[in-house]
Symmetry: D2
Subunit: 312 residues, 4 copies
């Protein structure tokens, strides 16, 4: 498979179309775009069959992308509207896969001690949990309340345990009817860092965004439907460099300054070449905005609020 180096279905579809010089939609894929407001756009990518699956390397299902412009200088209103956009889309998926009083388990993937990987643990800190109150002090809550619990399982590198091993055991004991997983993703575009939310009802491969693929979390492995909420928080440095090379070669071609060799080069993936030349082995270099600490906090607020209103 083509190495997309992005977890966003929307970006993969665009890259596939460009690489294959397609003008019309990919077979097996349906897309739709909606402008929610000045600053917010929602795109829906539906993978409807195996062709679509093969093209973009994502299982059959729904992938919804919410893009928020200029989140860095967002007002309180922008944040409220963004979380409302998430609530609306998430509510639809939740209702499709569960009943109103079904137990939900919200899982915050990632490492609280590594800023760009801390989104999941930060979101679950702000989720309104009710399961223990329903069990020990039910008189404090309306009888309509849905049992909600959360967990931050850590990452393989800090626990020594596969996330799937941890969650399997918890799901067996807590018996939720639906799992919602929050994780950091990789994207190709630095504009999307901590400014885009992807919703998917097909589960997730934890750590994909930060270069350490782990076992899938989905209905096959956990036994209950898994909705994934992903936010790009990093772009790999070699990706940026490779993309800038591509832009550069395109520019040469426009100016008719390229030659045969360059044209051939354009077909190739420069990522590995750059990685080899540029990057020291032991590190995982990423591109982030300097303001990543603040951006992650803003996004955590949006996602937590969006989930709280969708499931309670």
């Amino acid at each position: 498979m083509y190495n997309f180096r992005t977890d966003l279905a929307l970006e993969r579809r665009d890259l596939y179309k460009k690489a294959n010089k397609l003008d019309k939609e990919i077979d097996g894929i349906e897309t739709q775009e909606e402008q929610i407001s000045d600053k917010i756009t929602t795109s829906r990518v539906k993978v409807i069959n195996e062709e679509g699956e093969k093209a973009i390397g994502k299982p059959i299902g729904n992938y919804i992308t919410i893009d928020i412009k200029k989140l860095k200088i967002a007002t309180e209103d922008d944040i409220q509207h963004s979380s409302e956009a998430l609530t609306k889309e998430l509510k639809e998926l939740v209702n499709k896969h569960s009943n109103p009083k079904d137990t939900i388990l919200v899982v915050g993937l990632g490492n609280i001690y590594v800023t760009p990987d801390s989104l999941g643990p930060k979101v679950v800190k702000d989720i309104d949990i009710t399961r223990h109150i329903l069990e020990y002090m039910p008189e404090y809550l309306s009888p309509e309340t849905r049992p909600v619990s959360v967990i931050s399982p850590g990452v393989l590198g800090t626990t020594g345990i596969e996330t799937l091993e941890i969650l399997k055991g918890i799901v067996d004991n807590v018996k939720p009817k639906l799992v919602i997983v929050i994780d950091a993703l990789a994207s190709r575009s630095i504009q999307r860092i901590s400014s885009t939310i992807q919703l998917a009802d097909t589960g997730i491969t934890p750590g994909a965004g930060v270069g350490n693929k782990r076992k899938d979390l989905n209905i096959e492995t956990l036994g209950v439907p898994v909705i994934a909420i992903g936010v790009p928080t990093v772009v790999e440095a070699a990706t940026i460099a490779a993309d800038s090379l591509d832009l550069f070669i395109e520019k040469l071609q426009e100016n008719a300054e390229s030659n045969q060799y360059l044209n051939k080069l354009q077909e190739e993936d420069k990522y590995e070449m750059i990685k080899e030349i540029l990057m020291p082995e032991d590190y995982n270099f990423i591109v982030t905005p300097k303001e990543i600490d603040d951006l992650i906090q803003n996004m955590a607020n949006i996602v937590a609020r969006g989930i709280n209103f969708a499931i309670n």
Copy 2:
């Protein structure tokens, strides 16, 4: 049962002896004290039968207390010696309950976001984990390496899930032969705050130290032996006040200034009275040194180092 308001077996034994005016040892209890150095004392309390169990409300087993004087102004040497004292005692318990290459799961109980309850999560952050390396890159480790993994399950109030429910599932999947649990405890003495370590091979009742008892973690509930490492990090404010009343009445009696009523009062527990008068309902008031943030960090270093050398 008498409300000891301490999780330390050693303090309970002293309180029981005082309350019952015993000069000799309690039936069913054996104790022993060892001066390790100028600053470090180790005490061993062994509960050997049901009498001992009933007297101090702790199950049959071994309770080892390591007291470290003036930890606040400890040198790097003091810290090293303290962790060595822990390693020595822990190694003995670990070898008694497991074989050299048996898998161990280290559990950091508590809430990372509440300083006096954050010891457990801080300790596990510094444990040397090996289980995933043995599984994915065994060539990097000696074949003698013991598989070690860790987990910070959070607390009921932040997850909505009983710690036992979380750990049961993980133990079923990870299948350790021994579990080591780290938790914050309550003590009666402010001198012991973040200056004492209690080791026990009988498991633990999480949250006991901070006033929210939860289901026991021990060989009966988890199916494997559980060694508990507890550190007092708080004293309840009402306990301090009640203890100061007791000291005050004692002083009156020494000066022959007390009367019948006071003598009668001395027999009673003033804790509830004080709690009612002094403490607003909604809060859990604790006494800590102002320097608690630093002290917890020092103690976390000692405990993590002590464990790493005992199990690897």
Copy 3:
């Protein structure tokens, strides 16, 4: 002077009245109370002459106390109303001591690394600063904007420099017309911990709340008016214990169970006795709610919002 062990003028006035069995107001003091809402009460203590000054050990000036009930379980509305109450009182003091476009310097006293002492640095983090934008990019702001800058000078124990030495230099260079100082205070009442705000237009003695008095910050030492915003975040453990003894002796007297000795004792201050018996020398023991991390965060939000609306 009587050792009030509280920085709140309101508590000192009450303690003075009680100690001197006064029914009417203290000479040189005027007080007034206003119920703002169900949960918020504002009290005004005015020290009008030297008698008042001597009685409660606070300089001539205005002391406004805003008490907020059950802040721990406050809704977003309660927080908004609390910050509005602060804005109203602060605006009055600010307008009394400065003109609309006068430069203001906001100073966050305290130690960011010690939770109960971290209020000041946390508040200034959220103050809207404008001075540098007015200087480098004035086109982005309305010409009516007041220049606001902030500083967190640290504490003597972490810098080796008296707060006054640091601020004197900064005031000489920045030349504000008014300084607003935020600090943690000590109170006698655990109900007031992180639930009360005291405003004073007489400056502040930093560190008074945590047992390390430093040089005063006021118009005499800094050369410009100093408004102090103080929030009690700790009660000394020995204070709690001494107060519980007092309550206990009162109760004995009510039941006619006391004797001459006890009656005499009642006149004395038990604080030193308790401190000697109960507290290890090297530490500064304080009483806080276990939830202090969250409470400080809530209060920092209220104070920052209150200031932002009062001065911008």
Copy 4:
């Protein structure tokens, strides 16, 4: 002047030599390299006259670079050796510019809330300060002790005050004979991120590393000698991309695949072009290792230890 996009004198010298195709040393510059150990290399760049100054855009003075290999996987020994290398070099500069008992002020520049900019505040947190003890409790210290104090002034964007304005006032009041400033720098090489220390006795331009140049801190502006300790913590994303383009064109030339246009292009700076195409306006994109939080902590330990042994 050529835009070096690095604060390291050593990198500037290399870039200047490469750009001007010099084989021998630059006029006005002297360099020297010393292999301290397997992992540690020290380089000395001396700017001796105006020619040297003009060539690399750094004032006359000494620039010492300590490079530490594989700091990420450093052992405790490596950290100790690195801090010893820093102590040795710093001691020499300190003795050159001050007497043994002269007061020193250590300044931690940067923003504690932005990880790659938090090195300065983290270092000063661990400096052994003595000035207040010498003033209030001199009996606790040897009479040979040097008065040391520290300050973290924040950054213009969080205080509204120029760092120079803050420090000027403090220096006027504290009257140190020498100022040591710690700051984060920019470099061209991602291998150097949090792995290199530059020492200079010519002061510093704060914020240069993160794209916001501020007023210089040096003997002219502060009135006392200023030793700067800088650590590269970020590389600008556009720099990485431009450098990868250069490498790419070089490779084409080696393979005789380039053309006239490409050869011309090689002379140009692609940085601005890339910045325009690739980077959204509002952000400052940087490249960091994913492990930046840990790396900054390691480096802060090395620098604090290195300073403590050099000045006490």
